[in-house]
Symmetry: C2
Subunit: 320 residues, 2 copies
């Protein structure tokens, strides 16, 4: 079967996604970033089949997640997305059906987040499908990891642990015999909620402005709340006191934890949350956030649950 | 052997390369692009071991070439580099020695081109070494592929064909028995010139301002002069008349062509040149460029040599 050349492939699948003048219809080797107000914030996250996603995940969701994890980084910095570049490394067995579904998934998010494709590069790889997204955003004030102050409260958006439990649920879809007991005891809609949150993160783009206005420090939770929070405290040269019982859980995650209390560590360290962790003045926390702790003068990070101190052997889930 | 974690690896090898405030010492998930005058131009080229370079190429040259091919794209748009992001996918067998040499090569170019590391992402890949560079530059006037006008002269910087012949010479270093006759007849310094030009492109950053001032259309020559020129003419809806005999060759390439006249097609279509092809008013061509042809009203591209019309079955070397 004859396959399209790189140029044909770009013209057919990706040029329609380049809806901004600076992209010049993807007919050039470079793009011009649209001008705008505020800091131009940039982030880059790679996603590799077999490491960050399953090769048989739906192509449109693979594409959307590769973009969304970058938009999550931007939102946590207070930046509203303005465009992105896509590096696409295609393995030998790619098909036009795959690319069509992949581009469809991107198109939906490009519209939904107002974040056009600006350019990129397409190559073949003698290895797994490789995605490298560079995303741009504008922030009236860029919020860093450093900046937390003693007395700040610590908050997270949304719920924590769904992505980590969803990964287990997604693995069980592919290898049902390996499903853990707690997963078998969940209702089908609870399992599908977890899988959906693993496959389709919800970057908190709508909160980017609020983060920029109110947060003294912020980052997105991608490698596990415990480890990411430790990084933020280290960058700020502060410590924290936290209540694991205050960490917000979805009904599905709460049910799983009730069935198997041993899941608490996985929920708090598993990652793939793509929620925003932020430190702010207590008075500013009147948004849909959950206070989970406070920043303290020492550089110790102390997690408690029901008044007892917790310890986590590893603060993060090691993708690397 | 214990290997450094992702965070340790970044702190040890890459944080020292992040010499600009916006990179925040690579301690955050995002960077702020430094403000500046003119268009902010961005380009992204991936490089995969076994496709774009040999896995046993010197690590410092692999790193430098991945950056330089992007700086070449910027220069051809009239943009002076201001910083870059590095996506690094490491295969299972990476070593700290490799990374140290890789970072050294980057450091030299960061200083030489004044182009600091702004951020990036490091992941493991169950496949070959994968590099994804996103480079930024500022252009007083961004020069596009489209824009060539009938009557413009067509020029290239430097010499053409060294990279394509250098690839053959590099292959022969790895498999001497396969060396073609013309290569055996070159002097050692001619062979090493070609290999060097293949491994170490010279992005024409110093000419970026001149391109911005004088070129009506420009692009870098990476996929072969014949095919790249055809793309520029197609984007401009113009044609061209060219003299293959006017295309500038290095002494080594000229000697190889004298030995084997059949190399002409490889020289003109082989790619890996990283020189700038540009169209400009004839009066502006008083810089170190070589006029190789002129833009015409029709959309035909006609190459001649010694007065006879040439045809090229394929206008580009297909990396893809």
């Amino acid at each position: 079967m004859t396959r399209p050349s790189e140029d044909d492939l770009i013209a057919r699948f990706f040029a329609p996604l380049a809806t901004t003048a600076g992209a010049d219809g993807l007919t050039d080797d470079a793009a011009v970033i649209p001008e705008g107000e505020g800091d131009l914030v940039v982030t880059k996250d790679m996603a590799i089949a077999g490491v960050h996603f399953f090769p048989d995940d739906p192509p449109g969701l693979i594409a959307a997640k590769a973009l969304r994890v970058n938009l999550s980084d931007l939102a946590a910095k207070g930046a509203v997305p303005t465009g992105f570049l896509l590096g696409l490394g295609l393995p030998a067995d790619w098909t036009t059906d795959f690319l069509a579904a992949f581009a469809d998934g991107l198109a939906t998010d490009i519209r939904g987040y107002g974040c056009p494709l600006l350019g990129g590069d397409t190559v073949k790889v003698p290895g797994p499908l490789t995605l490298s997204v560079t995303a741009f955003g504008r922030a009236a004030r860029t919020v860093r990891r450093r900046g937390a102050r003693p007395g700040d409260v610590l908050c997270v958006t949304g719920t924590i642990g769904d992505g980590a439990l969803g990964l287990i649920a997604r693995q069980a879809e592919r290898a049902p015999a390996a499903a853990p007991d707690w997963l078998r005891l969940l209702a089908p809609d609870e399992r599908s909620h977890l899988v959906d949150r693993y496959l389709s993160p919800r970057p908190r783009v709508a909160l980017a402005d609020a983060v920029g206005r109110h947060a003294s420090a912020a980052m997105d939770v991608s490698d596990g709340l415990v480890g990411d929070l430790a990084k933020m405290m280290a960058a700020s040269a502060t410590g924290a006191r936290l209540d694991a019982g205050a960490v917000p859980l979805s009904p599905a995650a709460a049910r799983a934890l009730a069935i198997d209390p041993g899941l608490r560590e996985r929920i708090l360290t598993g990652g793939d949350d793509y929620e925003i962790l932020l430190a702010c003045d207590a008075a500013a926390a009147d948004v849909p956030l959950t206070v989970i702790g406070e920043v303290v003068e020492s550089t110790d990070v102390v997690w408690t649950a029901e008044g007892r101190v917790l310890s986590f052997p590893s603060g993060r889930f090691e993708h690397f």
